[in-house]
């Protein structure tokens, strides 16, 4: 818990920039402004310019440029959210898309506006660095960090330390491939740690400090692999040294000849867990450990730049929430599905679903972003988290104020009660936006959302995770879906392959292909039959995933292909 009283100016929940950080960002914006000018003048060719724009998060997609903005460890403050709303309104088409890597994407950006947009972002301590390219990408984190009752260590301070370590790390700007790190501080994995290049789980060390479980070599894409457990006792002071050694071994031995075999997961499989561990240990033993040591003073100094919420709910907060729930069944349902227990008495974390029935998962209009910013100021210390499920979270809400918050969310069409249920679908942008796509993901999500719109029905079906990717890159995490949907291309037409039994959590598993891909117009019906089959065969409080694990694929296969 906080060991220093933060200056009031510090944002709650994330690191407060200092002048060095700000000067760096300002330089970076001007550098890119110059590069854009040279590109427009023609002195830089597209081939020369592309790596430069990607380093600043700017992609060329199907219809326009896309700008991916980093939200380090998924935490935003209200001022930043308002700026994103402003950018959406002024430079894009009035909305933004929150992604599974807790970032935000704008889909209709003009190249010529980008330097101004980056300057506006820099003014609120934001940027688009490390959102693309073969570098260490934005570190993702538990959306309930610092709030969850089940959390052992708040991982955001370490996420920030990793951000500072990896930003512009001279050795790691040209890795064999992109590199993604996730960190959690709870034994209940909400960050898909086992599906990342490196997954870290912080926990208390026997000596009272902090240590880490380390997973390596997980990933999705063309070769989905659950990461292996490398060690369970990495001391905090060796965090950077050991990660440095892990990434160095990858940088040295990772394949650069074949883009599909370049991720660390392939190296770990090739060397074997033991082989990889030995190489890392040898590197670790030979490096200048003093240089990379992370002393408690440094951790404390970084922690001191985080604002902390002043949590003091009235004694009757919980009782008042109980009364409000009894009086209002719709609110009660939302509390059941869209909240998470808080460590502090009288508080609760609220999940704002960006999955309205029939809507586009992860999209928020600029008006909604402004509303969320206002509500965060009013109810949650101005702090907002983006989840890898493409929703938003207000981490610290007083229980006696939750009903008022919910009413305000409902007025803004932000109160869908479906977190963790069938309507809470992850979908990548797919062929509607993405230049790499085989098929559209969003329309399938919309049709499923509409089909299962009823909150009662969703609660009856219970916890189930549907995840949709428009191609094998798996940005929509389909491999980790209880039901995964993968878009494939057959002679220019869209087909969808179903996988069952994936899970992103502590019980991570890769979904297995059920059978031949289905045409677009048969996919939603097939999933409805599959869900029916589950409802018939489940026992007790079994989740879909448990029923699948108990009974296997055959009955679901029958349900899907019987009439198809």
């Amino acid at each position: 818990m906080p060991d220093t009283i933060p200056a009031p100016a510090l944002p709650v929940g994330h690191y407060g920039y200092d002048q060095v950080d700000r000067a760096f960002l300002a330089d970076r914006v001007e550098q890119f402004r110059d590069q854009v000018a040279r590109r427009i003048a023609g002195t830089l060719s597209e081939d020369e310019f592309k790596p430069l724009r990607l380093m600043n998060g700017l992609y060329l997609q199907l219809h326009a440029y896309m700008l991916r903005i980093a939200v380090p460890y998924g935490v935003l403050d209200s001022r930043q959210m308002r700026e994103l709303a402003h950018i959406a309104r002024t430079y894009d088409r009035d909305y933004g898309h929150f992604t599974t890597r807790q970032n935000l994407q704008f889909n209709w950006i003009r190249l010529e506006d980008t330097p101004d947009i980056l300057a506006r972002l820099a003014a609120v301590d934001m940027h688009a660095i490390q959102t693309s390219g073969n570098c260490i990408r934005n570190v993702t984190c538990d959306q309930f960090a610092g709030a969850a009752q089940d959390e052992l260590v708040d991982p955001r301070v370490h996420a920030e330390i990793l951000r500072q370590w990896s930003t512009l790390h001279p050795e790691f700007t040209f890795l064999p491939r992109k590199f993604k790190i996730a960190i959690s501080g709870s034994p209940n994995d909400r960050v898909a740690a086992r599906f990342h290049d490196i997954g870290l789980v912080a926990k208390p060390a026997p000596d009272g400090g902090t240590q880490f479980d380390v997973f390596v070599g997980g990933g999705m894409g063309r070769t989905p692999i659950v990461g292996v457990h490398l060690r369970d006792d990495l001391p905090e002071e060796d965090l950077l040294a050991y990660l440095e050694a892990m990434v160095r071994v990858y940088n040295e031995y990772g394949r650069r000849d074949n883009i599909y075999k370049a991720r660390i997961k392939i190296l770990v499989q090739a060397l074997g867990t033991e082989g990889y561990r030995q190489k890392v240990d040898a590197e670790f033993a030979s490096m200048n450990r003093a240089r990379y040591r992370l002393p408690p003073e440094t951790v404390a100094a970084i922690r001191a730049r985080f604002g902390t919420p002043d949590l003091n709910a009235p004694d009757d907060a919980a009782a008042r929430l109980d009364r409000a729930r009894r009086a209002d069944p719709a609110f009660d349902r939302w509390v059941r599905t869209n909240t998470h227990p808080h460590r502090a008495p009288g508080y609760i974390s609220a999940v704002i679903s960006l999955k309205p029935a029939g809507g586009i998962p992860g999209d928020a209009t600029s008006a909604q972003m402004d509303t969320v910013a206002d509500l965060a100021d009013r109810y949650a210390f101005g702090e907002i988290r983006v989840t890898h499920m493409q929703n938003l979270v207000l981490g610290h809400v007083r229980q006696d104020e939750l009903h008022a918050l919910w009413q305000a969310l409902r007025a803004a069409d932000l109160a869908s009660a479906n977190i963790g249920l069938i309507g809470d679908i992850i979908a990548c942008p797919g062929l509607d936006y993405c230049a790499l796509a085989n098929a559209r993901s969003i329309p399938i999500a919309q049709k499923l959302g509409a089909r299962f719109a009823s909150p009662e029905l969703q609660e009856t079906i219970g916890p189930i995770e549907i995840k949709i990717s428009g191609c094998i890159n798996a940005c929509g995490h389909h491999h980790a879906g209880h039901i995964g949907i993968l878009g494939v291309d057959k002679k220019g037409e869209e087909f969808f392959q179903l996988t069952l039994g994936g899970s992103p959590g502590s019980d991570a598993s890769v979904g297995q292909i059920l059978g031949p891909a289905l045409p677009e117009d048969a996919t939603v019906d097939a999933i409805a039959r599959l869900v029916d089959a589950y409802l018939v065969h489940r026992t007790g409080g079994e989740r879909f995933l448990d029923t699948y694990r108990r009974l296997g694929a055959a009955l679901f296969k029958d349900a899907v292909y019987a009439t198809a």
Binding site: L60, L62, A64, G492, E493
Partner: protein, 112 residues
């Protein structure tokens, strides 16, 4: 941005040429040499036998024309408006299917 799927061309078919505008990234279709339109209905239809040469010519002047990623798109032979054979290029031509208000036609109307 091009895509390998666009390199599959039928011998007897026809294609149109497309690119993204450098400044705003938006999609355009070649009407004539040096003349591009956001509307695929304006596009010049080129027999596949001649398409490679036409693409090369357009690509050679893409910087001058303010374009990136010039490539050819095969179209259906039996449609009045040039209609790409693949879903991908149909979405490029007619806009994201999830935002009916963002189609090129709707946009032109909005600006008219």
């Amino acid at each position: 941005m091009s895509d390998v799927r666009n390199n599959r061309r039928e011998a007897g078919g026809s294609s149109v040429i497309t690119a993204n505008r450098l400044l705003d990234g938006r999609i355009v279709w070649q009407v004539a040499e040096g003349d591009w339109s956001p509307m695929i209905k304006d596009a010049r239809i080129i027999p596949n036998a001649e398409i490679e040469a036409a693409i090369a010519q357009a690509a050679a002047r893409q910087q001058a024309d303010g374009l990136v990623g010039v490539y050819g798109v095969q179209i259906e032979s039996d449609e009045a408006t040039p209609t790409p054979v693949t879903v991908r290029e149909r979405i490029r031509a007619f806009g994201p299917t999830v935002h009916p208000d963002f189609t090129p036609a709707a946009e032109l109307e909005a600006h008219a």
